[in-house]
């Protein structure tokens, strides 16, 4: 019964979506020509994708940061109030201690390399592929490596997550400050203020600052989510 409804709705949906997707239409080239000529001068970033989401459409980036904050807060509230099923501490299964020591050493030694790569992707996002979001996610993966490595050594060692809450709130304030700073220099908000006063500082300072703020916010939010799910947080 539900399979028949499924097949009928698939057929109807393909009839509706087919004329939009399948035919060969020309993709407009005006936007690409405009950005190729003016992207570097207007915002100061060589990576044109960074120039778009940090310069021309920075409001969308702030909206996405708020969506990430809402998701992490919602998941934290929904999961924290109920006890999760545990599979027992490490001391009760002594035959697994050897394997977990190997995992602990490997992930513990690999974590700084991953975090260094994440910081590089975040910092140089205006010159090469990368940026705030990418660097933030890689940084979060590095911090989760440390959490995985810890679980192998001692049974019930947990990470203190007060630091991550602090970093998340501080980077939200940093973003708000960065949004309002161009008002001091006479430009509108969210516009790179150093494109008008080119002699004092290089133009990329604003872009780098925005990238770091977004990267720290994304990294701390996703690390909190990961730590909560691995059940490694103090209450």
């Amino acid at each position: 019964m539900i399979y028949a409804m499924g097949i009928i709705s698939i057929v109807l949906l393909s009839i509706v979506l087919g004329p939009f997707i399948i035919p060969d239409t020309l993709w407009p080239q005006t936007a690409r020509d405009f950005l190729q000529h003016n992207g570097l001068n207007d915002t100061g970033a060589s990576n044109l994708v960074s120039a778009i989401y940090l310069g021309y459409r920075a409001y969308d980036t702030i909206g996405e940061t708020i969506v990430l904050l809402a998701a992490v807060t919602g998941a934290l509230y929904l999961i924290k109030s109920l006890p999760m099923t545990h599979t027992g501490s490490m001391e009760s299964r002594p035959e697994l201690k050897g394997k977990t020591t190997i995992i602990g050493v490997t992930t513990g030694k690999l974590a700084p390399v991953v975090m260094l790569f994440g910081w590089y992707v975040m910092f140089f996002g205006h010159l090469s592929p990368g940026g705030g979001f990418q660097g933030g996610v890689v940084l979060a993966s590095g911090m989760l490596f440390i959490a995985l490595g810890r679980e192998g050594y001692r049974g019930e060692s947990k990470l203190n997550n007060q630091g991550f809450h602090l970093i998340e709130v501080l980077s939200l304030w940093f973003i708000i400050v960065l949004v309002c700073i161009p008002l001091v220099f006479g430009a509108s908000i969210l516009e790179n203020p150093f494109t008008r006063i080119d002699e004092i500082m290089p133009r990329v300072i604003y872009v780098i600052g925005f990238n770091m703020a977004i990267g720290l916010k994304v990294a701390s939010g996703l690390t909190l989510l990961g730590l909560l799910m691995m059940d490694m947080t103090h209450d």
Partner: protein
């Protein structure tokens, strides 16, 4: 053109999975697959007009359109937020009704009220 038909098949597969599957975790899988299909379609369409990655260098060839790529960065992050929150809700439902089958949950909820 065959690429676009395959991406349409991926989207319809996700939609069929969302409608027909009774396990709630499979429904969340289907949402993630649909997100992947939309991102693939945009990047596929935007890459037709050029042949270089959109980073300003000294080369003279035409760049790929950078606007769909910037939009899809946001789309991917919002997709993972939706997945995380949906799975938190699935966790709460499992703790209350002890099953992941959505028809049994419907029956138990009607019996309770």
């Amino acid at each position: 053109m065959i690429n676009r038909i395959l991406v349409l098949c991926l989207f319809l597969l996700g939609f069929y999975g969302l409608m027909v599957q009774k396990n709630m975790v499979k429904k969340v899988f289907a949402l993630s697959i649909q997100n992947s299909a939309v991102v693939l379609l945009f990047i596929l369409e935007g890459s037709r007009i050029g042949s270089l990655a959109p980073i300003v260098t000294e080369a003279q060839a035409a760049y790929v359109d950078p606007i769909p790529q910037a939009l899809m960065l946001t789309a991917i992050v919002v997709g993972i937020c939706v997945t995380a929150l949906a799975l938190a809700l699935v966790f709460r439902l499992y703790k209350k009704y002890e099953t992941l089958n959505i028809e049994e949950i419907q029956r138990k909820a009607i019996d309770e009220s």
